[in-house]
Amino acid sequence: MTKKALSKTQIDRLGDRLKIGSHTESDLRLLDDYRRSFGEAYEAVLRTIRERGEFPTGRLAKSTLSIVEKLRRESIRLSQMQDIAGCRVVVADVAKQDQFVASLTTDFTGASVMDRRDKPSYGYRAVHVIAEISGKPIEIQVRTKLQHMWAELSEKSSDVLDPTIKYGGGSDVWRKFLTSSSEAVAAYETFEGRYAEAVAAHEEFEKATLELLAFHPPEQEVQETRARLGNSARRIAELQRKQARLWRVNADLLTQAITRLDKAKEPKR
């Protein structure tokens, strides 16, 4: 049997009760009905993403705990919350992320895009796309594997160290670690794009050189072209070393964080 849809006023009053912690058992049931009302829209979004060949992890229901925290943290009404249901897609790199986000905006007309890569939210970098199906917003989180790695660290730190870490709180040391790590990942990903472009250009040059040699050009031209190709290859190797150095910055931060955690676990004398 289909339940009668809740009105916006009913939803927001429910949100108010959840926010101040005065909710009853029937409020939790009401919230559950509201959550389930996103089911069809959620399924439509996941189906479309799967048709694109991606493998999303869907979240059918945001936990009550997360809903209550969000209501308390932000000046948002329950009816305005856009992530009651949603999914997450982790892609290889920024180029793939851009490509996938573009495909989502084609698939879901009028979808809004929140790009948190250049202006991170407390270090969190990702692209969120909000698709709206029959008036129900469904949040699609699109992260690169490195952005995802950082987000998992931030979330777990909030769970076990201090719940405010995710939103800029926590100890100075840990906040600094997360900020520096987020910046290091951003620097690495920016460079990764430039490196990929340089490699593509080098490969193109290499191909053109081989084609040229097939025509047996004068020896001097062969020598000059080979020298230019050699320079290009050296530049790629140099960029590769720089990329490794950029990653090393983040790897060192991660190692320091592990050491710090291990020390914190040591029994105090």
């Binding site: 058992e25 939790l28 049931r29 559950d32 389930r36 089911g39 996941l46 493998f55 992890t57 869907g58 979240r59 059918l60 229901a61 945001k62 936990s63 009550t64 705990l65 997360s66 999914c87 997450r88 982790v90 290889a92 790199d93 594997k145 490195l146 995802h148 790695m149 950082w150 998992e152 660290l153 979330e155 777990k156 730190s157 909030s158 769970d159 076990v160 160290l161 719940p163 690495y188 990764e192 490794a244 990653w247 983040n250 790897a251 991660l254 190692t255 964080a257 592990i258 955690l261 291990d262």
Partner: protein, 82 residues
């Protein structure tokens, strides 16, 4: 596959983990609600979520936070260079 997870945030560990076929969506939703109601009666704040993924491995990749401790996550991050 649908996965039901009850997670104790401050301890950073999963207390209930159940999987369901897609055809059992309603059962999963009902169980999620029942766990939440039982926790509410006891005054316990746990995260109770329903997630859907191709497999448990896929779930563990996109939601490592539920399954790994902080040190494991840091080590795994260190080995991630693209």
């Amino acid at each position: 596959m649908i996965f039901l997870i009850e997670y104790n945030r401050s301890e950073g560990r999963v207390l209930t983990f159940r999987n369901f076929d897609e055809s059992q969506r309603q059962d999963a939703e009902d169980l999620r609600l029942n766990i939440e109601l039982a926790l509410n009666r006891k005054g316990v704040d746990h995260e109770v979520v329903l997630l859907e993924a191709e497999s448990e491995d896929a779930l563990r990749r996109t939601h490592q936070r539920y399954f790994a401790d902080l040190t494991q996550l840091l080590k795994s991050a260190g080995g991630q260079q693209g």
